[in-house]
Subunit: 166 residues, 2 copies
C-alpha cells in the first residue's frame, strides 16, 4: 500500500468530522509563517493555528528563497497578510551537510552535476534565523513596515524560542 493510498484512507476519517467548509480565502489572522519541511515540526500544532488562520510556507530549512518571496508577494499583495514569522528548528538536516557533500552525493546517485546549486545548508542555527529574517526585512518585494519575527522550535521539547523581531 502506498503512502498516497494511506493518505486517501485517512482523509475519509477526516471528512467525516469536517465542519469548516465556509472559511474565506484570505487568512483570518493576516499572517504568513515560513517554516522548515521537517517531519517533526507541525507548525499548526506548535503555534496553535486553526484552519483558515495563516499561510504556511515550508521548504528545506525554512529558508528565504526566490520561491519564498514569490509566495509572500502573493500572500501580501493578493491575500492581505501583514506579518511574517520565520521558524527554524533544532537538529535540522540543514546542519548536517555542506553543498560540496550534497553535490558529490547527487553526482554519484543521479549522475547529475549540481555544483552551481546552493542547497542552503547552515552551520549555525540561530544565525540562520537572523539571516533569513534580515533577508526578508531588506527585500524590496516585502511590504515596508511588515513585522517579521524569527524563532527556533526545539524538536525534543516542542518549545518555540524567540530569536529576533524586526
Amino acid at each position: 500500500m502506498s503512502e498516497f493510498d494511506r493518505f486517501l484512507e485517512a482523509n475519509e476519517a477526516f471528512i467525516s468530522g469536517f465542519t469548516e467548509g465556509d472559511l474565506p480565502l484570505p487568512p483570518s489572522r493576516h499572517v504568513a509563517v515560513v517554516a522548515c519541511m521537517d517531519a517533526r515540526l507541525h507548525p499548526t500544532s506548535a503555534l496553535g493555528i486553526a484552519l483558515g488562520e495563516s499561510h504556511i510556507i515550508r521548504n528545506a530549512g525554512g529558508r528565504i528563497t526566490d520561491d519564498t518571496i514569490r509566495s509572500l508577494v502573493i500572500s501580501q499583495q493578493l491575500l492581505e497578510t501583514r506579518e511574517i514569522v520565520v521558524l527554524h528548528h533544532t537538529d535540522c538536516g540543514m546542519l548536517s551537510f555542506t553543498n560540496d557533500e550534497l553535490v558529490s552525493i547527487v553526482n554519484k546517485e543521479l549522475h547529475q552535476d549540481v555544483h552551481n546549486h546552493d542547497f542552503l545548508p547552515f552551520s549555525n542555527l540561530e544565525q540562520s534565523v537572523i539571516d533569513d529574517v534580515n533577508q526578508l526585512a531588506k527585500s524590496p518585494l516585502i511590504l515596508p513596515g511588515t513585522p517579521i519575527s524569527g524563532a527556533i522550535y526545539d524538536v525534543k521539547t516542542g518549545h518555540v524560542s524567540e530569536i529576533l523581531r524586526k
Copy 2:
C-alpha cells in the same frame, strides 16, 4: 498583540502536552508532500499525518519550482524519502490572477518592476496538478522510479480526490 506573541502563548499550551521528543530525523513514512500554503488546508490533518511521519513542502499553489526541487533532493538524498504527493486545492488564489495583473499591483504598491517574474498562477486546477506531477516525473534530480501522485483537496468538504499517479 502581534500574531507572533499569540503563537508564543499558544506554544506554552502545546508543550504542556508534548510527548514526542524522541522522533528520528528521517520521516518514518518515507514520503514528502508538496502542498499549497493556503490557510484552509492543513495537510497533516487532511491526510492523517502524525508528527515525524512526512516532509511537508508548501508554497503558493503547491507548485514545483527550483526551490521545491532543492527541498526534494535533500529529502530524498539525505533523509530517505521515496514517495512524493502533490496536493493542490479548490478555490485556490492561484486561479484568481494573471502574471500581468500581479506585476501591475507590485509596480503600484511597491514601485518594483517584476515583469520578468513568473508567479506561477494557473487557470485550470486539475491541469496544474498534472503539470506539476509530470514536471517531477521528468526531473533528473528526482530519484528514478519514485511513485508520484497528484490530488486535489476540496476546501468546502475536506475531501481529497486523486488526479493521477506516476
